[in-house]
Symmetry: D3
């Protein structure tokens, strides 16, 4: 595997195993709270991983013991950032023009976070400790969510006077977790535990520690890395498409998708390997 | 809090706490079974609560020990009501004209029940005892469902020869409870218990008694009542919108929604209160 | 009940009780693996059951002890079948023309499996043992899924280099089972047990053996067979419609549907039977 | 035909022929400009006509020689009405709370105008002279648009600093008139003539005078009044449904709709009359 | 070109030019009125043409001088056919059961006519003389509509007491002809001429006679027959898809579609032929 | 107006009037044929204009007398570009991997062209002479289309063996031009004239020369530049939204949009100017 030059101020991108990338949020001194350069960076990273032929699966994790992220860096956001109130001369600010500015800003913010979902490769989230606000926005963009038993989740936005707008309110009801529960946690902004998250299905596995969770994620990632990337990436694409369309459209889409993808040599190689009990090797994608 | 003049024959509307309204179905001598004046009333009540600036959250409950509601008052419905068969001169009734009459009637019935879902404020359902038919139609319109452990649920309609048409068959599959289970209870019309309802996620909490359930609902309601109403009502609106639209549309909607809502002073007040560990006060909405 | 002449090479169709049909996949020597004649047959069977007035509910099961189905008969598919690679003269095959051939083939395959979902009568799946690949495609088309505790499920397709295209990736996310789990099992192609299937809600009941599962299915089927077929079939239709449409469209649909269906004498008969505690009899449909 | 008691301050409702209602906007001294009581009235009128069995078709017209309507009564709207700016103490108005007030107000305004489209009976618009702003909002809700050759149309809203929000921007692109033209007239707020309206298809007939246009509308209305109301009203419903849904959904809808409507005796009577060259009579609806 | 064995009682299928099929409705003695065997046949014919590699374009025309079709054979339909009233014992017919029977019947009728639209090859309609009812249902399924100047069109269904249910009300509003005009002709059931049809865009060419129209259709068909079938059939597919989906979905679909189709050798051959001014030859599809 | 530094190799961006930008395609020696750097550039230009507060309307035009654009630079595309066939070692190229490469390439190409439609400011297309292929893709993204009488249009893609994939097949059916005509020109790839384009509504004005067309575009642009940018940009946004959504969604969207936009001071200023017959000035946006 070629050494990759993925250098970002607030993220460590490493390659713990063949075809596996690990993206680590790295601002632990601020509990990995997000300010604008960070979402610009995460967008750039996932757009690049999406087309990188040396990557077949991505793990999203965060540095430090205290948690995945405290969410938006509220202090920064309120002084010059996205939540900054107009200054003393506020009376002169036209609400329509301010609305347009907010909309444009939010568009970019959403686009950067949505890059995680649009990444062609599966993304596995590894959560631990404090996992507030943006932690939910970002990990609802991931395909598989695992967490440590010490994780404290919260859809925090109501606490600071706003409806979550970077994706939680849109994607969480589509994660197939009970809607009565979704509304409870989104409306009250209360904390919920790893066990509760597992019970409702928000995460699909809880492990003893951050390290154990990462270990499990790496195991799953290694499995995915050995499969045909044509099959794996097609599966992610069609599952996401189906979430957003009716059954008739979904069936038609997989049909048109597979019209080219079934022509891959991977099918022959995979079937042969299955019969011969050998390990198939698949070309890069 | 101003004394409110909410007088309705079959409902008690009270205000147990600041910004909290409680709507109690009140026809216990008939096990709270519904006839036409009742759905007309419930529609009127929720349309009014929706815009009432003194209300930030609503609890829906029912009088008496026996149950939440036995559903449609079948006897009344079959003699002059919605299920009345055409009389002796039936041979002269044109099936198309009768179909139009049924459609118009159902439209009004649906509109009144849907008013619960359209209410801008969150609605918490408190179920107990017999909770049949309309109990499911009405509470799938609510945001959070809690119940007493003695609750006996049933999607009863098949038992009286019809497919449920006031919302259960439309909203229950969207409550993110397993579809195999949904079909089981809707097709067989069998009873299910509070525990089963919790396990599949139809309710998000089971409590020892009706009183304990109401107590819990009131606690949640008080929490919601202290939050920014701009944030809480926006969260409800966007969650409901997202249930019915794809992710791209949902993200766009919250963006346009928040273009005005983020201009609220509530954000500043909430953030400040968070930093100062004080309790913010928010203007009415 | 009239003796029905349902003769198919790879399926046994029997009528274990009044109004109940049982469709048994019957190629146990190949672990019920599917080749083309089988999906053509299953399509034909369910299209016929859909309109058969002597049938009100269908049970789908499979012969033998080893399992429900191993999925696609890969060997057959790769030699002359749907996954056959172009022969030695492959260089001369135009990828666009091959894509069209694949698309047409897949259309027919999908149509035959979708016939299970389109069957107007409820379908109860009884799974046991090996239940791979097509087992999931087919049973996500069923309304209620029950299984024996020895069942080993797997969304197998990634293992043979392709994204599942006969319905699993489209319908499984709509079965209201947690999406993080859906992606895990679809991307990794790993096995999962009956208990796991129950916990996430993919099946709604697990029983001690294949025989016990079938016994339970038969009990449910008999219950459905005694209900008004107008009510039962309308309930299935509207639940499936609602899965694929938003709430406003769903409410409108049930309104138009019931405009004719509420005119049935079944309503009167069912209500009367309810009052008199007798067993109603409903005309065929 | 029974004398109907349709009394409204700003509208004349008359019955020029059997089963034909004529709704005349009646505030000619203000060029029929609309203030709030008027849209509340028009909503009430069309909701009532929708279910009135003595009405099978409606003509919408306006009093006076100068025009159909000048649109919103801007003066009234800006002093206490929908466009009123917050007063001197504006600094104290929270933009989010004002946004909610605007939204609620607009909802009611839209609902009243949409009542024209939702009216179960076909509505024929007769336009003449000044036909600005709301004239387009209202008549895009009508089924058939006819106009006098002196008509001066304008999508006026941009002229007063806003995007048209009572329906024009939503319905005009769906009237199947060329989109390049739609954008031209909506973005520039320029006038366009009857001839231009006919050329692009916005109206389907231009006549010499208001009287001649009304005469033509009455002729069409009389034709519609003689047809089966089951057939006519079903045709309107399905055309509107189809505008908003894809072809598969549209075909399904007409199928379920006609499942009851084809049972009408009107079909038999209409066919018989066709064969016998007589005039059929249809029961009220 | 191989001689094709397309034999159908009420249709002549011929091959006037290489890759061009002509389907002629052939019941001129009854003005080509349709009864059930005819729609079963037309469905079968178009399903077969869709996959026939010797066919790249289809012309739909009708025998005799009097017209394309008078529509449904009303006499036959009312005596044992789709519009048959229940017999004297009508009182005993359950309206719900009759509704189901109507729905099933209509489903088959719709499916057979929709086969024209689903045919993978472009279909050119050649209309002349009487073109009523089903003439519109069928030709809105066609891609290009041409007609003789003597054509008399009518959306006839209202005349016989019903809303058109075989596709006209669904597809005509999507043919991008002015909606005010669509509603006029659908609601009044009035005749309209070839010139009117051209003016509103329902047909895209009017010619002096049936023969001249057919001649023009043949010219267009020959042009299409010389183009790459991959390009032509993809163009039809994507245009139909786009009619039924939003722009984002349409752009995605053509992208996935062309992922395989752009790999065709036809692109290279077509470009080379363009440069060399030669006539390319394309393989069958 | 500040001098803007818009420098692009193949485009001239000028500012002929206050708030009006003119984007001129500038590769006349190649008939303005497009290669990859050009679509990358046009994407960048329109993304920048979209947020530029000194721009309120954009005119898209092309250099030289011969035409707007000949479309894709086929020679370049086939040698190393988007249509390049795999080289001699083609046998080794996996069709699935090539499909992925095509898809990614097309995504970028589409995104750059769609930037024209997504530009928040209205875009007026000025077409002349040869206007093939991409000319249609690009101008269906524009809001208003004007052309010189010498314009020769063609949806050219079928001629080079492919279905148009940069937007024509998706957006042209939504331009509300008759579908029979759309299919004719898309399937045959034939030329059509300015007069034909006007008759079907593809363009909304035809002028004597390129200069006269540009003159007219400039007049319209100047009108738009004087209007409230809040009103104009909202109108564009809502018209585009409505094209892609049903009426209920469209009405809701404009309601939420205007909740903030109606708070603009522009409304007050515009109304005042209307009353005083003065020219309002609006702040930048």
């Amino acid at each position: 595997m070629a050494v990759k030059d993925y250098k970002y101020e607030f993220f460590n991108v490493t390659f713990p195993s063949e075809y596996v990338a690990q993206v680590e949020i790295n601002r632990p001194q601020k509990l990995n709270a997000f300010h604008e350069p960070m979402w610009v960076n995460i967008g750039a990273i996932f757009r690049r991983l999406s087309y990188d032929p040396d990557v077949r699966v991505v793990i999203l994790t965060a540095a430090g013991d205290r948690g995945f992220t405290a969410g938006l860096d509220v202090q920064q956001a309120s002084t010059g950032g996205v939540l900054a109130q107009p200054d003393a001369k506020a009376g002169s600010v036209d609400p329509a023009r301010r609305a347009v500015a907010i909309k444009r800003h939010m568009q970019e913010f959403q686009d950067d976070i949505s890059a995680i979902e649009k990444c062609e490769k599966p993304v596995i989230a590894v959560l631990h400790g404090i996992s507030f606000g943006l932690a939910i926005d970002m990990t609802t963009c991931c395909d598989i969510r695992l967490c440590a038993k010490d994780t404290r989740f919260s859809v925090r936005e109501v606490e600071i006077g706003l409806a979550a707008d970077i994706g939680t309110l849109t994607r969480l009801p589509k994660a197939n977790v009970p809607l009565s529960w979704v509304k409870d946690v989104c409306l009250t902004a209360r904390d919920f535990t790893a066990d509760e998250a597992l019970r409702v299905g928000f995460v699909s596995g809880v492990y003893d520690s951050k390290a154990a969770t990462l270990q499990k994620a790496l195991e799953v990632a290694k499995v995915l890395a050995t499969k045909s990337p044509v099959a794996v990436q097609g599966t992610k694409e069609v599952l996401n498409f189906s979430r957003d369309h009716n059954v008739a459209d979904g069936l038609n889409y997989i049909k048109v998708w597979n019209a080219s993808m079934l022509q891959t040599k991977d099918v022959e190689d995979a079937m042969l390997a299955g019969l011969k009990k050998t390990k198939p090797t698949f070309a890069k994608l």
